[in-house]
């Protein structure tokens, strides 16, 4: 009976997976006929650049100037707002990550030859990222805002973005006209 139940459960799970795979997605999808979506814009960090503003909000330096004059309820509310800002910022960083990951997938899909090791590596990194992201989100939900760590992450993202854009530019320059168009430049 156990095996039969297992098979029925597998069948139902398979149906759920197929339904999820066929469910229309909101995001843009790659098209067989065009890879114009492969754009250098994918490499631009859209959220990380707002870190100075976010840092100001997270440290709450302006709040400290008020000292004891600020009522406790107001400070509590400000703390809540700071957490909200941190959460949104983290979500933004996640978007940056996912866009970059998608860029990597599309480059692989449109390449005549791919390296299995690199592809497996990206899948592993993606799984680890999603796990870590969930844990950081939980930590934020518990009320901890690690400002210096956010700052490090933002700086690192910026420098890597610049390196990647440079290597992409060097690819676009000498390529034949077809390849240049393919990169959506």
């Amino acid at each position: 009976m156990n095996q039969t139940l297992l098979i029925i459960a597998f069948g139902l799970a398979a149906l759920a997976v197929v339904a999820a795979l066929f469910w229309p997605r909101g995001a843009k999808r790659a098209d067989r006929g065009a890879i114009a979506m492969l754009s250098p814009e994918d490499l631009v960090l859209q959220h990380a650049k707002y870190f100075p503003l976010v840092r100001q909000a997270l440290t709450g330096a302006d709040l400290a100037d008020f000292g004891e004059r600020v009522p406790r309820s107001t400070r509590r509310r400000v703390r809540r707002e700071r957490h909200k800002v941190a959460r949104r910022y983290l979500e933004g960083l996640r978007e940056d990550y996912l866009r970059l990951e998608r860029f990597g997938r599309l480059v692989a899909a449109h390449s005549p030859k791919v390296d299995a090791r690199l592809e497996a590596q990206r899948v592993r990194i993606g799984a680890r990222f999603r796990m870590t992201y969930a844990m950081v989100s939980m930590r934020l939900a518990l009320g901890q805002v690690p400002v210096p760590a956010f700052e490090h992450m933002t700086q690192m993202l910026g420098s890597l973005a610049a390196r990647l854009e440079a290597s992409m530019a060097s690819l676009v320059e000498p390529a034949p006209p077809q390849a240049s168009a393919d990169l959506g430049a």
Binding site: V107, A108, R122
Partner: protein, 273 residues
Amino acid sequence: MHISPLSYAIWIAGTLLEILVCALAYWRGLHRTLPFFTAYLTAHVVKTGIQWVIYQQFGFGSWAAYDASWISNAVTMVAQALLIGELCHRLLRAYPGVWALAWRALLFVSAAFMLNAAIESASHAYWLDTFVLALDRDLRLAAIAVLITLLLIGRYYELELDRLERRIAAGLCLYAVVDMITSAVMVHTVATHLPGWIGYQAWAQQSQAWWNVARALPSVGILSVWAVTLAQPIPATRPAPALLPASAYRELAPAVNLRLRAFNARLLELLKP
């Protein structure tokens, strides 16, 4: 053996739909673009025709009907395997890099599940009913696994199936799941009550009726969806995508992975106290 009016009605509806879908497929010229899909539909129509002749000649509950049913089932399963291969090729052929990776994964998954089918059915070899049902169940399982692997690869690399191909794949999956579940229930019931069950024949006839209905109903639904899809004009095949130069992947993929990994490392730092 007596056929219930419900079974009979479903059988007639299914047969008519099979003929309609097969005719539409030829009319739309799918024998040129999707030859294995057309062959699969044709095999089903021929199977139904042969079964009908045998039922007329020898009766629904005869051994001839039993043999014809399972032999034709084997033929349609081969046709289904070829159709799944065709879907894999259609989805991935334009992407040589992904195809080079994916065919190994698909071959591994299908080999693993075929091996499972061989082992599982061999363990039920003491009785023909359970052996055939177990083999049927596990081959369906293999088909589902390969289709889901294909769809996951397509989803990951954002490769899009055409509307018709999507519906074919979804229909095959649904059909295989229903077949697998009904076969699993039958294997369990038969194996539990055999040997030594005096009323087996009467029970087998009764249970075969619900088994046929349970299998035929989703089939009618799937055929209806395929008929509606084929009744509409089929969009022209999309042109093959332009590929990037090989150097693009060599340069960008390690850089992207490096960046993603560094991103991860930093994210992990956020967790440190």
